[in-house]
């Protein structure tokens, strides 16, 4: 039971902003950022026509994500938002994978991280919308079918932030809670490595991708 008692401490930082927990998240975020900088430095250090393995990995990420951004926006948009999208995906991917290393925790397990990333995507999408359409056309969209639909349209836009950030948070936190409970029930035998592979690597990758794609899609809905 002692092991399981830790569950609510995993959950409690939600509302009570205890500094100790947030400090941990900040440190984990720094670890992710440091890993990203190292990865970026290594993959771009000796660029060559005949790339070394790590350069291939870097080019693969950048190329694929630029392609996806070009599909949703166009070439011009991909040049503007591509770096943002690649950085967002790599940050989320490294964050979600961090949990498989013992003693480290995913920064995305704390609601504050996905929420701030969701707010960032929201602000960028609306800024892009205003810049490409002009403020008048942008504002008139809120009165779209009839004028009194305005409050519901606003709530619908705000609900996007809630849904995008809670999706990531719920999946990552749910995975870690399930791993904790099952490890306790099976006395840490056999099952946990498979669960880490499923929830950490597999679900973590999918959710990082989904978060990134939804940010792209929100931008493209606002721009067009």
């Amino acid at each position: 039971m002692g092991e399981l008692g830790r569950i609510h401490q995993l959950v409690f930082p939600l509302f009570g902003h205890t500094a100790a927990i947030n400090l941990e998240v900040v440190v984990m975020t720094w670890i992710v950022m440091a890993a990203l900088i190292v990865f970026g430095y290594l993959s771009a250090r000796k660029r060559d026509i005949l790339p070394r393995p790590i350069q291939v990995v870097g080019e693969l990420f950048v190329g694929q994500l630029y392609g996806l951004t070009e599909d949703a926006l166009d070439k011009e948009g991909a040049r503007t938002y591509g770096p943002l999208i690649v950085a967002l995906f790599l940050f989320l991917l490294f964050s979600n994978w961090l949990g498989i290393i013992p003693h480290l925790e995913e920064p995305t397990k704390d609601l504050n991280t996905p929420l701030s990333l969701g707010l960032m995507g929201f602000a960028i999408a609306h800024y892009a919308g205003i810049r490409s359409k002009g403020f008048k056309a942008y504002a008139s969209e809120y009165f779209a079918p009839i004028f009194f639909m305005m409050p519901l349209n606003v709530i619908g836009e705000l609900a996007k932030i809630v849904s995008i950030s809670f999706r990531l948070f719920g999946n990552i936190m749910g995975g870690s809670i399930i791993i904790l409970v099952v490890s306790y029930l099976t006395y840490n035998l056999v099952l946990p490595p498979f669960l880490y592979a499923f929830f950490g690597l597999f679900v973590g990758t999918i959710q990082a991708f989904v978060f990134t794609m939804l940010t792209v899609v929100y931008i493209s809905v606002q721009v067009k």
């Binding site: 569950i7 599909d71 719920g170 809905v221």
Partner: protein, 304 residues
């Protein structure tokens, strides 16, 4: 647990039926189809395994100092997981079934189909994972000091909200995943586009269950003042029921929109961007009812 088993049984039955169809169409590769059916069923079963874990915990957990409040929390946990497993169980049956049919049609791409099926049905499990999280919080959180009178309703409401809302999202996500497996079998070279559309469609179809999770969290972590009037308790219970039932329809509906989007992306891949935009607009409109339900719940929690 009982409720959770219903969903998994329907999902597995669907997979098995499609597998039979597939074997009769192309009986040379029945071994492959059979193998794939078992993998698909195993994934569909994981929702009911979640329910089983919760049920076992409920049975063997020794709760110190049994109070009515804890009883309400455990009741809520059981309901939440039971309902939550239905949708995901049925939903992840669809990709399994469509993959079996697809393998019989195009045996060459069977490994790609299986990968696609695994991604699709793993995302289908998300609503079940949400309900399991709420169930575990309900079981292990200490509600010792909270006043009994309105809090019991908040706890049961929290279970109902996530549990019911997960039905629609799980089912809807399954529709999208099924269509994508069909699409991969039809046009294997469109796999990347089809999988991307499926993931975005499923993610949006999950939004109602995320609203359910949000309302559950508010009900769980907000401390309510003690009041003996029935209205306060009923308002909290109704808040959970509102978001829960309100999420079923939009979840299924969004899944249908995603299904249509994915199916036509696989047929007409040049128009993938446009199809995805239309799918998203349609989903946003059909989701508005879930948002209304959530607004009603929030008003019930914070105003009444």
């Amino acid at each position: 647990m009982g409720l959770g088993a219903v969903g998994a049984a329907i999902g597995e039955g669907y997979t098995a039926a499609q597998a039979n169809l597939a074997v009769s169409r192309n009986s040379d590769i029945s071994g492959d189809i059979f193998k794939n059916m078992l993998v698909g069923q195993a994934v569909a079963e994981s929702a009911s395994i979640f329910a089983l874990v919760i049920a076992i915990l409920l049975l063997f957990l020794d709760v110190p100092g049994v109070s009515y409040l804890k009883a309400a929390a455990l009741f809520g946990a059981g309901i939440c997981m039971g309902f939550g497993a239905i949708g995901s169980g049925i939903g992840s049956g669809f990709p399994g079934g469509q993959t079996c049919t697809g393998i019989s049609r195009q045996p060459a791409v069977s490994s790609r189909l299986t990968t696609n099926m695994l991604i699709g049905s793993a995302v289908c499990q998300t609503p079940a994972i949400f309900s399991m999280v709420v169930a575990l919080i309900l079981m292990f959180m200490d509600f010792g000091q909270a006043p009994l009178q309105p809090t019991w309703a908040a706890l049961v409401g929290a279970g109902l909200s996530t549990g019911l809302a997960a039905i629609g999202s799980g089912y809807g996500g399954g529709l999208a995943a099924g269509a994508s497996c069909e699409g991969v079998a039809r046009q294997p070279e469109t796999t990347g586009q089809v999988t991307t559309t499926m993931l975005v469609g499923q993610a949006v179809a999950q939004t109602p269950s995320i609203f359910g999770l949000l309302v559950s969290f508010i009900l769980l972590f907000r401390s309510f003042p003690e009041s003996s009037s029935l209205a306060a308790a009923m308002a909290l219970l109704a808040a959970g029921i509102s978001t829960g039932f309100g999420g079923i329809g939009p979840g299924i509906g969004n899944g249908m929109a995603a299904e249509g989007g994915v199916r036509w992306v696989s047929r007409n891949v040049e128009k993938a961007g446009e199809l995805m935009r239309i799918m998203l607009v349609g989903q946003a409109v059909s989701q508005s009812t879930a948002i209304y339900a959530m607004v009603v719940s929030l008003v019930l929690i914070f105003v009444v």
